[in-house]
Symmetry: C2
Subunit: 252 residues, 2 copies
């Protein structure tokens, strides 16, 4: 049984300002919460006994045994599962990302929380540990982003910072800066390194001009057949996936 | 100004049974509707004068000059734009898809309308004209699917049919049947043809066993680094994109 106050608190976490003030976020679902538990400190864990029975020792500051009705009331999902958790913010440090040694994804103004979560999920698949986002990119702790990561947030770290300063600093250190542009070079024919910054832009407007100006490796995902003029564009998560796949293919 | 009856009719089209009964669907947005107009017969077009002024001769059975308020009331979007259209169903024929000559995407039980729309959009990018879906796949005329196509529905045709019969027939004709499986072969190392059937499965459960049994080319998208066990899976639209990119790369 969950109290009204706790329900109100959980619902308040749909808003970024409340998450920021409390430094906590919500994750839901039997597999997702199980994946997240080893990586985050858990404030409340609300679960049906059937889910608890599938877990070993559950590390949470407060464990709340719930009925279906409790979870339904607390949930942000259309189809709530057997568990919902309130996790504390992690202590991610931007300095841990080292584009001299690894490929780091840079997101400039991604708006859709689902796109952001999907990008975190595919980053995990391709072994990319750090995402560096402009401050106006969607919040990774938005419930929709968290759900779309499908647990990849247990392995991928998401940072927010001013991109021009960040990119400039690494560029000065000799790190290659990749971006996608409609007038870029055929991705499949370019030399791709195992390290560097890969910049992806906003859904509607692409990469901001001041950020785009810093990219020295301008890539393009060829459409097919190439003479066709009809195809319009690709969703940003889709484009990111194709780029990451191509970067990693070269290493296998 | 739009009548209450028309508003009610438009809202009713959120449900598949009403779309099927009326054989019409809704599309919204300044660019999307402009892209769709040459490809579909338009029943009603509800638009602000500013949008109409950007178009040439608009072919619609009924043109309704709208104010912001009218479009807001009719819209399925959070941020309505300047135009909303009710289009008639197209007359797509499954026989037009010829996997002996072209790559045809086969979708087995994709549930999320947004995923389906995103797949149509990327199919357009990679010059795939036909999608063949199981009857339980999301409806392409769901407003969320239509919006996610970003206009690609003007070029890509989506069919619904029993997949085992469909695949069996083409397999008997010597057409290669590709699928993705966790125990499949490294995608990047396999021979890929310019034609055939590429089968993608449901978000949670993958391809149904009876459909999977028909795939003779079992592919796998390698994660990176490969010894890592953490990475979980890829969203179905993401996996489809990586496969299509790889099929097309071989032809460029």
């Amino acid at each position: 049984m969950i109290s009204k106050n706790k329900l109100k608190y959980i619902h308040s976490l749909e808003l970024k300002k409340n998450r920021m003030a409390e430094q906590v976020f919500v994750a839901e679902g039997n597999k997702l919460v199980a994946d997240m538990l080893p990586a985050y400190s858990c404030k409340w864990l609300l679960a049906k006994p059937c889910w608890m029975a599938t877990q070993g020792d559950i590390k949470a500051e407060e464990l709340i045994v719930a009925e279906e009705e409790d979870i339904r009331k607390a949930s942000f999902l259309k189809s709530p599962q057997d568990v919902l958790a309130v996790f504390r913010y992690p202590d991610w440090k931007l300095e841990e990302a080292n584009p001299k040694e690894e490929l780091v994804l840079v997101l400039d103004g991604i708006q859709d929380p689902g796109n952001l979560g999907t990008i975190v999920r595919l980053a995990d698949w391709f072994g990319i540990e750090h995402l560096v986002c402009s401050p106006d990119t969607a919040d990774i702790f938005n419930p929709k982003s968290v759900q779309a990561t499908m647990g990849a947030l247990a392995h991928v770290k998401v940072h927010y910072t001013d991109l021009t300063d960040y990119i400039r600093q690494w560029k000065a250190a000799g790190v290659p800066v990749y971006g996608t542009f409609l007038d870029g070079d055929n991705l499949y024919e370019r030399t791709l390194t195992r390290n560097g910054l890969l910049v992806m832009g906003n859904e509607g407007n692409g990469v901001r001009p001041e950020v785009a100006a810093l990219a020295d490796e301008r890539l393009y995902i060829p459409n097919y057949p190439q003479e066709r003029e009809t195809a319009e564009s690709l969703n940003v998560a889709i484009a990111t996936a194709i780029l990451c796949s191509e970067f990693r293919r070269r290493l296998l």
